[in-house]
Amino acid sequence: MSTSLNPCKHLSDYKLRYGIKGFNSIQKWIKSSSPYSRSKTQMERSKSEIPRCGFCCGYEGRLYICLICSSMSCSLSSESNHALLHTQNQIGHEIAVDLQRSELYCFSCSDQVYDPDFDKAVMTEQVLGLGNGNLDGIVGRSNGKRKRLGFEGSDFKNLKRVVVVGGGELDHGRRISKSCFPVGLRGLNNLGNTCFMNSVLQALLHAPPFRNYFLGGRHDRDSCRKGSADRLCLSCDIDVVFSAVFSGDRAPYSPARFLYSWWRLSENLACYEQQDAHEFFMSVLDRIHEKEGKTRNTNKDNGDCHCVAHRAFSGLLRSDVTCTTCGFTSTTYDPCVDISLDFNTTVDHFAANKAQKSTETGVSTLTSCLDLFTRPEKLGSDQKLFCQNCQERHESVKQMSIRRLPLVLCLHVKRFEHSLARKASRKIDRHLQFPFSLDMTPYVSSSIVRKRFGNRIFAFEGDESEISTNFEVFAVITHSGMLESGHYMTYLRLNEQWYKCDDAWITEVDDEVVRASQIYLAFYVQKPNGHKTGEDNVSCHLRSSVSSDSFVSIAGCC
């Protein structure tokens, strides 16, 4: 959130003279109501009388309370503005509070103004007024200890070694010439309806933390084989695939061994037929976690799993259920390795500015799906939940948000609709616009909670997070054709060039082809703070300090 908010001269003068006394004095009048109601921050001076203007005793128009003398005055029109009159009669009484919205207004500037201390006073009153009492889930806790995500110095050194072995000089920011192709670009043979597997493998091969882990030799096949009784380890087979694909050999590779291992480990999915790429992706992460999770989590740190699957893909979702009667909110957290998004076919005309653009072009966008995901959802009257505060069942509102973003964000577009009623499934073929650079700020918990409380200047939980919210796409998996008989392909972005990976065929494509494609799974990777979109400053990544979550786009001659 922008902190470069400069108060107007009148507001700063006011604060110098009166500090926060005025804010505190009007605090008691703030009537708190359920966060999702329209009258969220109305003020009320008396419970028995309607508010009236001190000049004319009128109750129409906009009412303001002076921050210095607490007198109330109305503003009806340019001709009848008693609030302005008050500021002219009493020198220095320029700042007032709008009764209906608890917003500060400066009558000298004729503008709405903002102050962190005022917002804090409003917030405190609001939250205490809700059934919560405590500020859990709303107020940020200063968390001094920065969470290290496990990619320490040794990783970095290994990476450098790999780059050197890769054979090329790093191109400092320039597009590499056509005669040099990125390492790790290799076709995968279709073994018989296995495009679902090939497409996901291509994405995994280039997911930076995943790639760095395996190329850095972090999975020791030898000790794994010795240590394990059943000798079944999908990570070992993945390691083999990595070695093969990054070997420099450009003839298509057949991931037969990998298929065999995966089938042995996934009884229910093992069969010769077209499968769902998303299901396969989840299954692979599960298998990796099962094996690695046991050996690596001997002492769990905050319940976070340190297996490579979770370190790369795991995030935390927050679910808030609010009682519509008293405003009490119950918050739960659940880890996730991806986000499945419902297709947003209806465009909300009153949502944020961007939705407006969608209506104009008539296009569904990935961000509107994310909006839908984080939108407050009124639970049906048949789903009344028991409110701890009211001690009875009331209608409630549920809202999702992202408490912790993963390093690699996998967004799953639910294109396959299964209708239980019609006992049929259908595919939503509609095009979905997606950005190459994605800012996840509006969907994180602190933003969602902040918005729920009227976007006040306040340290909401999650604000203190140092993780970047800027993401850059590096792979998209597309599905073409029909539900039962379709084809998966992956578009990979390496060094700002897009490559189409269609089983054994690797070809170069323009940005446009990717933008116009029908995405099913989109993979975004966190861009470290300070690196703005579009600039792929490879040399900078190398020189940057080890403590940042650095990952390198490896470029080299083949």
């Binding site: 209906q100 279709n190 073994l191 010769y272 650079s437």
Partner: protein
């Protein structure tokens, strides 16, 4: 049948209704204006330009590719970026890790299914029971 009294009453009712409506309308407008003002002033909408740019590029891309002369989907591959060609069915031959036989890559999956005993019969049984389970839920 409209007596003068009724007329006055209805016109004052209309006036009153009209008055209430304008008050409500003003209140709603002010609500939206105040909310948007806060969002803009606090910089909570700073990505609008980037988003618009992405939308524009996407629309442009779709328009260009909708052009029939530009059909990417139907174009057959001649060579890949490494200058190689590949047959429709992958022709690499390797040994099956289950039974040891030499198998053609493109037919490996159906072979493995039978080889591992995960034939169609076995799968159908599983489907029936899982469907039944789903119905019973």
């Amino acid at each position: 049948m409209s007596a003068p009294d009724d007329d006055n009453k209805s016109s004052s009712h209309t006036q009153l209704a009209s008055h209430f409506f304008s008050e409500l309308l003003d209140s709603v407008i002010m609500d939206v204006a105040s909310e948007s003002h806060r969002i803009a002033r606090l910089g909570l909408d700073r990505n609008l330009d980037d988003e618009e740019e992405e939308l524009r590029l996407s629309a442009q891309a779709r328009a260009r590719l909708a052009d029939p002369s530009n059909s990417e989907a139907n174009s057959k591959y001649v060579v890949d970026i490494f200058g190689q060609t590949h047959p429709p069915v992958a022709s690499e031959i390797f040994d099956c890790m289950n039974c040891g036989r030499s198998i053609v890559a493109g037919r490996f999956a159906p072979h493995l299914e039978k080889c591992m005993g995960k034939g169609r019969k076995a799968r159908v049984k599983a489907t029936r029971s899982s469907t039944a389970a789903a119905q019973n839920r």
